[in-house]
């Protein structure tokens, strides 16, 4: 096992280095798309925590991205620093997530999905109708990009590094979380709620916690989304974003740490690659997603997982065969 770890770490370093170095000579479009990928990955990681680790379907992750985006847009265009907006967004999304989840989970497992569905449309209506706060359908434009330790990040490349850096920090935090006792409790919940309960895990509290933390990650993604596009209006945070994020998690492989990275790549980059087909690109994208899910309902990483476990069984049966042969040939 330890021997297999080194190539993995080496691969990880290569990927990170590539994400830092390769985009240096990208054009503005490439950097924008890549930044979008980083932001969406953060949001999808949050949903993966809720769905993949705690087994709860949330249809409001897009709304939490919206809350984060509006927090950033409103606060930074009033001269407050982005980091303050980040704090507000995290707290706000966490608390709202908790309040939403509490009654829903009190009743029944899958009712969280229904409540979040309603919430995401309600959030859209509030974004659109409360002009005094959100400037309504006109949206908030000219959102400034932050200065990090005195460095302006107005240009595409520095801001890409802000997004990538945030993704790095969030990844580390999530990595730590799912290896902590909390994370193990989340998984216990998903795998067998009754057993988890009998083991003395307060299932409702942990489920709620997973949902609230996942929502807060949506808020973080939102605080990056606002300065990335530099314009926020209600339309992008409609239910469709929540559904898109759900799709990212499932397509990448829900419950796998790297699932959201791949899922967001499919959702953000695949349509871009298909654009050469003009009017057909979204259709082809839909067909590709359906095809992938039929082939592997557990997502891309599910394929990999299946492949690895098949190889392991093969290796194991080979070993067994060898052992058997040895036994048989033994006098």
């Amino acid at each position: 096992m330890t021997a297999a770890k080194y190539p993995k770490i080496g691969f990880g370093i290569v990927v990170i280095a590539a994400l830092i170095i390769v985009p240096m000579n990208f054009n503005r479009y490439g950097l924008f798309i890549l930044s979008q990928w980083a932001v969406m990955t953060i949001a999808a990681m949050g949903l993966n925590l809720t769905l993949g680790y705690a087994g709860q379907v949330s249809l409001a992750q897009g709304a939490f991205v919206g809350i984060g985006a509006y927090a950033a847009a409103i606060m930074t265009s009033n001269g407050l620093p982005l980091i303050a907006a980040l704090g507000v967004a995290i707290v706000l999304c966490f608390v709202i997530g908790w309040i939403l989840g509490y009654p829903a989970l009190r009743v029944q497992h899958h009712y969280l999905a229904f409540v979040t569905l309603a919430f995401s449309t309600l959030a859209f209506l509030v974004f659109r109708n409360e002009d005094w706060l959100t400037k309504g359908i006109y949206g908030i434009s000219n959102i400034p990009r932050p200065e990090i330790f005195g460095y302006p990040t107005r240009r595409p490349l520095p801001f890409y590094y802000v997004c990538l850096g945030s993704l790095g920090i969030v990844s580390l935090a999530v990595w730590w979380l799912i290896r902590s006792p909390w994370g193990r409790a989340f998984i216990a919940l998903r795998e067998n709620p009754v057993r988890a309960l009998s083991l003395g895990i307060d299932t409702r509290r942990y489920t709620l916690m997973a949902f609230a933390i996942g929502s807060a990650l949506g808020g973080i993604a939102g605080t990056l989304y606002a300065p990335l596009t530099q314009y926020v209006d209600p339309v992008p945070f409609h239910l469709s974003l929540s559904l898109d994020l759900l799709m990212m998690v499932i397509v990448g492989g829900s419950g796998f740490f790297f699932g959201p990275f791949l899922g967001a790549m499919i959702a953000v980059l695949l349509p871009e690659w298909l654009r050469f087909t003009q009017g057909y690109y979204l259709m082809l994208y839909a067909i590709a997603v359906i095809g992938l899910l039929i082939y592997s309902p557990t997502g891309i990483l599910g394929i990999l997982d299946r492949f690895i476990s098949e190889r392991r069984t093969k290796a194991a049966s080979a070993l067994r065969a060898v052992a058997k042969a040895k036994l048989e040939t033994a006098p």
């Binding site: 479009y29 359908i137 006109y138 314009y231 992008p236 979204l282």
Partner: protein, 380 residues
């Protein structure tokens, strides 16, 4: 696998972009519009108008002997995607940027085009777009700040209405119109008796109309898209609302008449840009469009068409294909239909990129648009 996958794909996009920029002869235009999502009808009309105009110009030898060529990109009616696509389009250094149609998407992308020094001819109608001092942004239709005063004046002077119910669609188009006209009503001391927001795609207007009835206004101002206009006209008739119904292009277009039938009779409105305008060139345009695409375009089809002819006329005026000089050449330029029939009606572009052109006040009488007044160009 991931970085290779990623880098090669992005590299591919960069390379195709470069290839387009290098090949010499045709003049490259880039269009970013709402081809899917909520604005797909707007964007598709706009795109079809562009394609039709380019086809016609190219068949007659192009502009200054060079063919026009356009790339279309879909913004999915999402400002974030619009920004990415405009960035991509600008990275390929087009001669002029076309689109988007949604005002929100215009707001995100206009600073990028201005920074690149490339003129942007767009479809947005929100008042604030051309007041921000952007020297590269041009309209293809009246902004709401120039059309709404005409409507309000008509409601005050001719209809002598003292209270008006406003019905608007809750998107940036409808909200912009509602805010502009409310401001004008305030100037005339006209009371807003009811202020009703409706949803795009709404099918059932029973509740909205019953509110109008309860408010008993002297007139109703309807500012929703064509399909919803037809539905609300039917419901107004059914519930027996008889006060004058006033609107804009979207209330009195031919499409509304077809969909609403009898219920459209009596509707009146200001028409800045319509395929029903009593102008021979406009009628000819409409016939060409219907022949190619099999449906009657809305004003967005006309806008796309005009954008291309604005480029043609301005380029011919400069006598050269000069992307940097384009915006300057178009500011203060009057394109006459006599010299450039493709522009359909004489149009002047002011220093803000706003368009000035003839307008009409029309009324639907027995299923036909009848012009009641011709509103002349302002700066003659």
């Amino acid at each position: 696998m991931k970085p290779v996958f990623l880098a090669s794909a992005l590299l591919a996009t960069v390379l195709t972009g470069a290839a387009i920029a290098q090949s010499g002869a045709p003049i490259k235009l880039a269009n970013v519009a709402e081809l899917s999502g909520g604005g797909a009808t707007v964007g598709t009309n706009w795109k079809n108008g562009i394609d039709l105009a380019i086809e016609e110009i190219n068949s007659k030898g192009g502009v200054l002997g060079r063919k026009l060529e356009v790339t279309h990109a879909d913004s999915q009616s999402n400002p974030g995607v619009a920004r990415a696509q405009v960035q991509k389009a600008l990275d390929a250094e087009p001669y002029v940027l076309l689109g988007p149609g949604y005002s929100g998407s215009v707001k995100v992308t206009a600073p990028l085009a201005a920074e690149a020094g490339i003129a942007q001819i767009m479809g947005g109608e929100a008042a604030e777009l051309t007041t921000a001092g952007n020297k590269f942004l041009f309209r293809t239709s009246f902004g709401q700040q120039s059309s709404m005063p005409k409507v309000a004046k008509y409601i005050n002077d001719d209809l002598k209405a003292k209270s008006v119910a406003i019905v608007w669609v809750n998107n940036d188009f409808g909200k912009g119109g509602r805010d502009s006209i409310s401001k004008e009503f305030a100037k005339y001391n006209i009371k807003v008796a009811a202020d009703l927001s409706t949803e795009a795609g709404q099918a059932d207007f029973a509740a909205d109309v019953s509110k109008i009835k309860a408010a008993a206004p002297d007139a109703v101002f309807v500012y929703v898209n064509e399909e919803e206009s037809a539905r609300i006209l039917k419901e107004l008739k059914r519930q027996g609302v008889t006060v004058p119904l006033v609107g804009e292009t979207t209330l009195v277009g031919q499409k509304v008449v077809e969909l609403a039938g009898d219920a459209a009779n009596g509707a009146r409105g200001h028409v800045g840009l319509t395929t029903d305008a009593p102008v021979e060139l406009v009628k000819a345009f409409r016939d060409k469009f219907v022949k190619k695409y099999n449906y009657v375009p809305d004003h967005n089809g006309l806008k796309g068409w005009l954008a291309i002819y604005m480029i043609k006329a301005t380029t011919e005026k400069m006598g050269k294909v000069d992307s940097k000089g384009f915006a300057d050449a178009l500011h203060g330029f009057t394109i006459t239909a006599a010299k450039e029939p493709g522009i359909l009606m004489d149009a002047t572009f002011d220093a803000n990129g706003d368009i000035d052109r003839q307008g009409f006040l029309v009324e639907i009488v027995e299923g036909k648009q009848v012009v009641k007044q011709v509103l002349p160009k302002l700066g003659n």
